[in-house]
Symmetry: C2
DNA sequence: CTGAAAAAATGACAATCGTCAGTTATTGTA
DNA sequence: TACAATAACTGACGATTGTCATTTTTTCAG
């Protein structure tokens, strides 16, 4: 799937297209986008964009996962979102005309396409369906973040871990969850040591199996119960 | 300022208009909006819209403050945002075509105008400047919420209190902060008792004065220091 | 103005969770 | 394949913060 050559990615046969806002909302010809975009291969742990910089365009994930994170006062990462195949990232700051408030970095090898700011804004202006899709996306995410804030504020670390594992299982789909303990702790909002201890608890409770880095959920029911609701 | 008659609020002489998205982004005649909107007086602690219901339009605050909050699993409120004069609320779920994920309730007596869903969407479609303003607003708020999540996850309650007091002081402007201890605790994400204890600490440290319900910040510098950054 | 209801405040106590310091295991590369 | 670097894990300990129970103060309606 991964194309290190940077060359032959095409929207028309993009495997991520069906999950993408382009696939869902845009009647425009895939080849229209094809002509505008460039594509690139990213190594693991490579930055896509950085907090403080100004957006030059948007990124469309063809393959691989990307973490979106903010930094707290002492520089500690807080992962806000993990984007997967088909997602477009980096367009929020384009609309707000502010520098990025978050950074993005690959969690694994990725193929990522890039569409220029002007081209993308032009598409938005001339294509109401795409535009509505984007607005829908922005609004949906605002709702998600309200829930995220509420979980952070009201749930215990144990509950948040259960909740986050459900989300991660969904993101990773058929694959096993594959994150460093530090990244996972930064997603849940806790110390790495606390996360490790809780994972051990969950393992002993028969909720998951730990294959070093990779996690296999074996009892999702229990997770739902612990997460609450 | 408050108009209990529901009758004579007009966009052209709306005192909140300069702070509003209409004032900032929309070249359209104020009277255009005037014809579409209806206005109403709300008592203190009156719901504006409720989580789970579907939006019928948007609300524009002419006078007074409104809390936007989600509910955790045990029904505990988490205040996500406090909206003041000039703000438009309730339009996010209109775009996402989902039921509201948050509720809104007045914190004091309010005058609130209402614009119908169809009328508002029509304005958005036909007025690119307004539309861009809305998109800018949505994007900006997403950035703010990323920071909110980070603060919740990484700061201590004491730091969050300091941080929140700065935000609240900004929202209340010339007025003194005027919230129940419970609402304030639900904004900061802590127990009411913890908040009360910390407010006492802050008072003893000469940071603020407590006039029963109302809080007067006397040393903002110290707050910044405690809040971090 | 008064009494009931709501809100604010206080005290005691325990559990969760973060920090620090150190060990073991894994990974990637020369 | 070995070794250096990184990540995972363990233990000890204390501070922060939530909970529960109770008292005091404030608010508001009649």
């Amino acid at each position: 799937m991964l194309d290190k050559s940077h060359k032959n990615l095409s929207c028309s046969n993009c495997s991520a297209r069906k999950d993408s806002i382009f696939g869902n909302y845009c009647e425009c010809d895939a080849t229209d986008v094809d002509d505008l975009k460039s594509s690139a291969y990213y190594k693991k742990n490579q930055p896509v964009f950085l907090e403080g910089s100004f957006p030059r365009g948007v990124y469309c994930l063809n393959q691989g996962k990307v973490k979106i994170f903010a930094r707290g006062d002492e520089g500690k990462e807080q992962i806000i979102h993990i984007a997967k195949e088909g997602e477009i990232i980096g367009f929020r700051s384009m609309f707000s005309e502010e520098p990025f408030k978050v950074s993005a970095s690959t969690l694994e090898e990725c193929n990522i396409c890039f569409i220029n700011k002007e081209d993308f804004l032009n598409m938005i202006d001339t294509n109401p369906t795409l535009r509505n899709g984007i607005m829908k996306e922005l609004s949906k995410e605002l709702g998600d973040r309200a829930m995220f804030i509420t979980n952070m504020a009201q749930k215990s670390v144990r509950e948040r871990l259960a909740f986050s594992l459900i989300i991660l299982a969904d993101i990773y789909g058929e694959e096993q969850i594959n994150l460093t303990r530090e990244d996972m702790a930064n997603f849940i909002g806790t110390a790495t040591e606390t996360l490790i201890r809780l994972l051990k608890d969950f393992k002993e409770e028969g909720i998951l199996e730990i294959h070093t880095r990779k996690l296999e959920i074996t009892n999702k029911e229990k997770l739902f119960k612990i997460a609450g609701k």
